[in-house]
Amino acid sequence: MQILNSGIRKTDKMENNLNPNFACETNDSGNSYCEVQVEGLNFYYGSKQALFDVNIEVKEKGVAALIGPSGCGKSTFLRVLNRMNDLIPGTRLEGRINVHGEDIYDPSTDVVELRKKVGMVFQQPNPFPKSIYENVAYGPRIHGLKNREKLDQIVEESLKGGALWDEVKDRLHDPALALSGGQQQRLCIARALAVQPRILLMDEPTSAIDPIATQRIEDLVRELCQEYTIIIVTHNMQQAARISDFTGFFLQGEMVEWGETSQIFTKPQDQRTEDYITGRFG
């Protein structure tokens, strides 16, 4: 991996594809409080380049949506943020990725800690073949929590946070796989919340779920974004329009435009963005 080596910089002017009205503030001690700050990201699968010079800054709390046709790098980008791409052999990147002020590709980064801070929910709900309780308790357990009462408490809070508590509170020890698709996905959200992340990455979380359950999850996302920073990849433009504050449009590995959702959908600045939104392709 090649990583640009630079100190934390004050940024008050964005590159050409970022909304000029939006800036991450820097406080006196020199820390930027953008939750996520990506500069000059180029990503390669072996010799094939998948992401081209992506620059993005995501503010704390709120929902940022990434849209674009399939195969254009959105999921890859998401996985850069919690280093899940490390699992794929032959990948490398250039650029600088800061999460909560820290360079997450620095050699001294503790990946385990990173993934505690940056949670992920996948496209296909993937609860473990264990009980509902065990699924949610898994995270805190592997990070060392053994106290039964504390675990009970965290499980309850997380399930409430995932809007699932009322439905399962009487059957916590039933198998998770017996739940419906929508419930399983909310369980996965609860499971991710149990390790108390700051950021929640969601990779097309509702594309495998029926519309009614999708609605519930969208409501949940709007609730959660008051406390967490949520970055959601979605295939569904209407969903992005419904639930996000900021939207980024990806096309063939390039982030074409990034800005407030209302602006992207009503007054896109790039022709390609307008074409995609109006359905001319994708």
């Binding site: 800690e113 990173l114 505690k116 996948f122 609860p127 473990f128 073949p129 592997i142 796989l177």
Partner: protein, 292 residues
């Protein structure tokens, strides 16, 4: 023409299936019909009363097989006690941790291990393992249940490793991803998610290993001492059901009570194996499958 070929193929395959059923029924029938004379003359109870197996006794012949059931049990359980953990660990290593180069190196070795004839292992047990056991435990003789259990465990290992590895590899990678995304280490992921998720496959592996162990005759015959008395510990000599049949069938008079009594032993062995397979089936179907 086409349809005729189809018909011939159909008949052939159907016949093979029927043949297999016939083999099983035939074996069961042979066992039963040859056991009945002994059951009639000796009575089924006397096979299970405490005592010894002495059909050729100086005095009254006795036919108790309790000690042999215990012997089979000890060797089987002993073998699994060391082969299952070791096999699952090796399988997890092969499936999750080993590099492709290491896997290429390891798998042929496992296969060779599987191919070692039981009589060769028995010989090694007698000449190499027995003195080692004797020295390690400071006992006079290493010809005992422990020796048999170790060798049978070695024989069951390749089966267990191969099946467990298949089961672990078959676990959907989504589970691994979920665990890692929560901040789990590779180690935690393997032991808390992947291996437990492969439980039904691993159980099947263990059960197959167990089936192998219960019926193992040659090796056990050579290294367990074949004593007819009740064993007092794993360091004591034992005789298994299978060994008993092998030992005595050579010179038993055809058609005598002793002859039929040996069939009863065979029937008991058959029933035990059947029950084990049945349990394995139940266990495998009890765990909820992944609903993808």
């Amino acid at each position: 023409m086409h349809s005729r070929t189809e018909l011939i193929m159909k008949i052939l395959f159907w016949a093979s299936g029927i043949a297999i059923i016939l083999f099983l029924v035939g074996i069961l029938f042979t066992l039963l019909s040859n056991s009945i004379p002994a059951l009639g003359e000796i009575g089924i109870g006397s096979f299970f009363t405490s005592g010894l197996w002495r059909p050729g006794a100086y005095g009254e012949p006795t036919y108790s097989i309790n000690n042999f059931i215990l012997g089979t049990f000890m060797v089987t359980v002993g073998a699994l006690a060391f082969a299952v953990p070791m096999g699952v660990a090796a399988a997890a290593y092969l499936a999750e941790i080993a590099s492709p180069w290491e896997r290429e190196f390891f798998k042929p070795i496992v296969e060779v291990l599987a191919g070692i004839p039981s009589v060769v292992l028995g010989f090694i047990g007698l000449v190499v393992l027995a003195p080692l056991i004797a020295r390690f435990f400071n006992i006079p003789s290493g010809i005992n249940a422990l020796n048999g259990a170790i060798l049978v465990g070695i024989m069951a290992l390749p089966t267990i490793i191969t099946l467990a590895e298949d089961a672990i590899t078959a676990v959907p990678k989504e589970y691994r991803h979920a665990s890692l995304a929560l901040g789990g280490t590779q180690w935690q992921t393997i032991w808390k998610v992947t291996v437990p998720a492969a439980f039904s496959g691993i159980t099947a592996a263990a059960m197959l290993g167990m089936g192998r162990a219960i019926g193992e005759t040659m090796t056990v015959l050579m290294v367990t001492g074949n004593m007819i008395a009740r064993p007092e510990s794993f360091l004591d000599s034992v005789r298994t059901l299978s060994a008993n049949i092998a030992i005595e069938i050579g010179d038993v008079a055809f058609g005598s009570v002793h002859f039929h009594a040996l069939f009863v032993v065979g029937l008991v062995l058959f029933i035990i194996t059947f029950i084990v397979n049945l349990l394995a089936d139940i266990l495998i179907h009890r765990k909820p499958e992944v609903n993808k």
